[in-house]
């Protein structure tokens, strides 16, 4: 499919080039004019991207390897090893990973239930619509919603206490903690997983189930040997996407916990606001570390996605 598409595009292109060349000028003149105009069409985009996306990022990445005098150094990167910064990275990774995994498994279960569970059709479309909204409901308002739910006076906290006599705060739960933040992130991770993974489950062809049944496979074997291997790459890819999604987020965490939970984006935020680390270049190094982690995550994501696309055409 890709090949056919590509070759068609190429023939189309050469045709239209001839057509345009024939229309505007003799071939030799057109060739001289064409090069700059071709590129002018995309110039605004590249100028925008270079000035406001690539250069600012490169600036920080280079700054991470320089000292105040502008000399090359590894000191800033080495300084990331101090306990408070390592702790911040570690808790960020833990929160992102936990929320990504919980959100991914819950989202996958919901997706399978609405696509393959034999539920009424309206449930599928309602779930997808709601997931579209909920996956975009993040930031500061989400923190407010969870404070109203699982805060000390939140509805869920109060109801659990009055109905079941379960005081979750007496049992060590706190919304301003690792689990509080993780559960909050799960709120947008589940719907995001649903939105991304439903097309992959739709891509499972009926014929595969029939073929498996014809060959005498049990339902368990069909799942183990057909469904899971096919979905696995898109599932893993989406887990990584959810991880990166949570790792860079700051607004929810900041509104929820202030600075009591020291995740990396909050540490960087404090550094930008008031140089709390007393070393501007250490701030660059923290930003560099964040890019490395989300960058690695995305390389894995692209790798898994190209593997999954083989099956889902």
């Amino acid at each position: 499919m890709t090949l056919k598409d590509g070759s068609r595009r190429m023939t189309d292109l050469s045709l239209s080039d001839q057509a345009i060349a024939g229309k505007t000028a003799p071939p030799s003149e057109a060739r001289a004019l064409r090069l700059p105009t071709q590129w002018l069409g995309v110039a605004p985009f590249f100028i925008f991207a270079i000035m406001f996306l690539i250069l600012p990022t490169l600036y920080l990445m280079l700054g991470a390897f320089q000292n105040d005098a502008g000399e090359f150094t590894f000191e800033n990167i080495a300084a990331l090893a101090q306990p408070s910064i390592v702790a911040a990275y570690w808790i960020s990774i833990k929160v992102s990973l936990a929320s990504a995994l919980i959100g991914a498994f819950a989202g996958l279960a919901i997706a399978i239930a609405i696509v393959r569970g034999g539920l009424p059709e309206w449930i599928r479309s309602a779930t997808l619509t709601f997931s579209g909204v909920a996956s975009n409901f993040a930031g500061v308002p989400l923190a407010f919603a969870f404070l109203a739910t699982l805060g000390r006076l939140g509805l869920a906290t109060v109801l659990l206490n009055t109905l079941f006599g379960l005081n979750i705060y007496a049992h060590g739960f706190n919304i301003l903690s690792f689990w509080g933040l993780t559960l909050t992130y799960v709120y947008f991770q589940i719907p995001l997983m649903v939105v991304i993974i439903v097309p992959a489950i739709d891509g499972l062809k009926k014929e595969w189930g029939e073929a498996a049944a014809t060959l005498g496979a049990t339902t368990a074997q069909y799942w183990r040997m057909v469904v899971i291997p096919v979905i696995w790459p898109s599932f893993l890819g989406t887990v990584i996407l959810l991880f990166a999604n949570a790792f860079g987020a700051i607004a929810t965490a900041y509104a929820l916990t202030g600075s009591s939970l020291n995740i990396v984006p909050i540490l960087l935020y404090a550094q930008i606001r008031g140089d709390v680390l007393h070393n501007a270049h250490l701030g660059y190094a923290i930003a560099f570390g964040m890019i490395v982690i989300t960058g690695l995550a995305n390389i894995f994501y692209i790798w898994f996605r190209t593997r999954s696309e083989r099956w889902l055409k």
């Binding site: 407010f144 109203a148 860079g248």
Partner: protein, 263 residues
């Protein structure tokens, strides 16, 4: 099969509970302001707050400018890539995905360091320029969504035939883009626009670090100082997100079906 359906219901109901309980709790909490009775006092206070109105309007205007900038950057590029430079597609797609890789806080940190008052391009030297920088930053955040939306829209129309037909009729490039291509992908552009709006309206990180009086920092400030108003604001924010997503869904019904692609 029967037990499968049972478990499907269990999973669905548990998931729905997780997603709905916080909303119910927030509505309930937002109405608890008056002692002993449910009331809409918190909403009245919030909506009547002049700070709310000012910051909300600021973010609405920022969102509108972001959408305009996003359309100006994305539409001609996506069109040109489809028409004449398909070999650049992987590079452009990679760049449009970068804002998902580079966290917003890193991008804005780069802006602050690169475009400070002493730099050749001092965006931070006055308010107008800083507002412009915020809009630019928002446009980079929205780039992945805007590009995807426009590119999907372009895929459903026959860009080449439309362009050639317009050229035969004597149209120049600006006419082709504004009067032939844009109207044909308007629905896709609007979808991207509403998604951009939903992202920008409550954005906190960039607005806060650039010290702009936007809605996001206002929300955060209220959250740190009040009890019931934040819950009311969360419901208002959810309603805005819901509104944007519904508009996208409604618009998608009017979008042209893929006409020129047999596959």
């Amino acid at each position: 099969m029967k037990s499968g359906r049972f478990w499907a219901w269990v999973v669905f109901i548990l998931g729905a509970a997780y997603l709905f309980i916080p909303l119910i709790a927030t509505v309930e909490f937002s109405m608890r302001m008056r002692r002993g009775a449910y009331s809409f006092d918190a909403y009245q206070i919030v909506l009547g707050d002049s700070q709310f109105q000012a910051t909300f309007m600021y973010s609405v205007i920022a969102a509108i400018f972001t959408i305009i900038l996003g359309v100006l950057v994305v539409v001609p590029t996506a069109y040109w890539i489809r028409l004449r430079l398909p070999q650049l597609r992987p590079i452009v797609e990679f760049i449009t995905l970068l804002p998902l890789v580079i966290p917003a806080i890193v991008i804005v940190f780069g802006y602050i360091r690169m475009y400070g008052s002493n730099s050749p391009l001092p965006f931070l030297s006055n308010n107008t320029a800083t507002n412009a920088l915020l809009v630019i930053g928002y446009a980079t955040l929205a780039l992945p969504y805007m590009y995807r939306a426009v590119d999907t829209g372009l895929r459903t129309i026959d860009v080449r035939t439309l362009t050639e037909a317009a050229q035969i009729l004597g149209a120049g490039w600006s006419t082709i883009i504004t009067r032939v291509i844009l109207p044909n992908v308007l629905i896709a552009v609007l979808s991207g626009a509403f998604l951009t709006f939903a992202i920008v309206i409550g954005e906190f990180t960039m607005a806060s670090l650039l010290n702009r009086p936007a809605f996001g920092p206002y929300l955060q400030n209220i959250g740190a100082n009040r009890a019931y108003e934040p819950a009311a604001l969360a419901i208002i924010a959810f309603a805005i997100t819901w509104g944007c997503m519904s508009l996208i869904q409604i618009l998608s019904r009017f979008a042209p079906r893929s006409a020129n692609r047999p596959n």
